[in-house]
């Protein structure tokens, strides 16, 4: 077992020296999670907005389902995506298993319900306020969805950041569908798991520090957005 203090020292040397192995892992992590969040936004924001302004039979059931999906266990998502993408699975011929694409798919499935559920709540509250005014102005259903998405943009960005935080920190799904292959599918969380089990605490700690810093950056961004929104009375 390495000395703890020495491990910390090594970790910061790796970080400050922009160690290529470390940077490669961080880069892939960001690429996978940011792509997944972008796709989740494209699906989840309109979906949440439509749910927020619609009233239909079975809506309550859909909302319960959506809120439940917010808490999907990453390993279960990993398993399901694995089953779909494995050679014997329906999407086997695409040969996506153990590629970054598979990881993006898994994280998109994890994050979309979060973005959609948070967007739904935000849009529904704003819709209650805007509905009569927009109808008076002759705005139709789709115009209303577009208006609400734009006017709620700050809150929705916060929802996206929450989704990103979830994606970049999860390990179960990317480990199963990515396989933690060096230079191919190794991301921060899977690398930490592996390096810790190998006793290579310096690299694990270095990555851990990066993850923590990311968490700080995300929360600072959320607070920054909130105060910007409050300043311009968007909140």
């Amino acid at each position: 077992m390495q000395d703890f203090g020495a491990a910390f020292g090594d970790a910061f040397r790796l970080l400050l020296g922009f160690d290529p192995a470390l940077m490669e892992i961080i880069g892939l992590s960001l690429r996978v999670s940011l792509t997944a969040v972008a796709i989740s936004g494209l699906i989840g924001l309109p979906l949440g907005a439509i749910l927020g302004v619609s009233r239909f039979r079975g809506r309550a059931t859909v909302l319960v389902l959506l809120n439940t999906l917010m808490g999907l266990p990453p390993v279960v998502v990993g398993l399901l995506v694995y089953l779909m993408l494995s050679n014997a699975g329906p999407l086997g011929p695409l040969a996506l298993l153990y590629t970054p694409a598979a990881m993006i798919i898994a994280q998109t499935i994890l994050v979309t319900p979060i973005v959609a559920a948070l967007a739904r709540q935000t849009i529904e509250d704003m819709h209650a306020e805007y509905d009569e005014q927009l109808r008076i102005l002759g705005v139709g259903r789709w115009g209303m969805v577009a208006t609400l998405l734009w006017d709620a943009r700050y809150s929705l960005l916060t929802a996206m950041l929450a989704g990103f935080g979830r994606a970049v920190a999860e390990v179960g799904a990317v480990l199963i569908v990515g396989g933690n292959i060096n230079h191919v599918t190794r991301v921060m969380t899977t690398a930490i798991a592996l390096e810790t089990s190998k006793g290579n605490l310096a690299l694990a700690l270095g990555l851990g520090v990066v993850l923590l810093l990311l968490a700080v950056v995300i929360n600072a961004a959320v607070m920054g957005l909130r105060s910007t929104a409050a300043r311009s009375a968007h909140a």
Binding site: Y130, E132, R135, I136, T147, D151
Partner: protein
């Protein structure tokens, strides 16, 4: 949806006269609108008055098509309300609902016809009329209460509506802000916009009304030219209201 499909014809955008025919609205077994017939045509300012719960705001919502009656019907220029004619009907609520955008963007949002330059010009003009041009770039929700209501009024008037309906627009405003709103209403009237104003404020009604529709318990108990109503109200309920007696029954 409260509206029928938009009309395709562009010249057929008239909404006046707005007619109500046997309107009934029931809530929890009580008739809050009880068989109202009404026609809003011609010119001038109609003030709808009455005590709390008389059905004034509900009646206004029925006339705009926001609310569907349980019985009876509302027509705009002889046809059922539709979304395509929305620009011809402006509405200002008691509490202004402003978009989370600049003052100018709020007005521009209400202008759906005409080219970009034309819309910008009309939005600018609407702000000037409301005396808000210096606040054009300010986020609408940063404005004061009076400025917000003026902006809501400017936005409602920007498309040059045939008729403007206002639901107690000055209820939360101080006298100066109220005077500014009343000036805007008079200005709109002078440019030919038909005005329908719901108010509690008898003094305001005296200042603005050309005719008065007095509501009590969901019914029109009196509809008369303003001078007649204020000098010699024909109904006992109207008389009691004007004398400041409390109408409780």
């Amino acid at each position: 949806m409260p509206f029928d499909t938009p009309t395709s014809s562009r010249n057929d955008r008239r909404v006046l006269p707005i007619a109500a025919d046997g309107l009934v609205v029931e809530r929890a077994g009580r008739r809050i609108i009880d068989n109202i017939d009404l026609e809003i045509g011609g010119h001038g300012v109609t003030v709808i008055m009455g005590p709390n719960g008389a059905g004034k705001s509900v009646l206004l919502r029925l006339l705009t098509g926001l609310l569907r009656p349980d019985a009876g019907r509302v027509t705009w220029a002889g046809r059922r309300p539709d979304r395509g004619r929305a620009p011809a009907l402006g509405m200002v609520f008691q509490k202004p609902v402003l978009l989370r955008r600049s003052a100018l963007a709020n007005v521009r949002y209400a202008l759906r016809t005409g080219g970009r330059a034309e819309r910008a010009r009309r939005a600018e003009q609407a702000l000037v009329r409301a005396g808000l041009q210096h606040l054009a770039r300010t986020p609408a929700r940063m404005l004061s209460g009076g400025e917000q209501q003026r902006l809501a009024l400017a936005r409602a008037l920007a498309p040059d509506p045939e008729v403007l309906l206002l639901d107690e627009p000055c209820a939360n405003l101080d006298p100066a802000a109220t005077a500014a709103i009343e000036a805007l209403i008079r200005d709109a009237k002078s440019r030919g916009t038909r005005i329908v104003l719901v108010t509690h404020d008898i003094a305001q009604a005296r200042r603005l009304a050309d005719d008065v529709t007095f509501l009590h318990d969901g019914r029109v108990v009196e509809a008369a030219p303003a001078a007649d109503f204020f000098d010699q109200p024909a109904s006992s309920a109207g008389r009691a209201y004007l004398e400041g007696r409390l109408l409780i029954d």
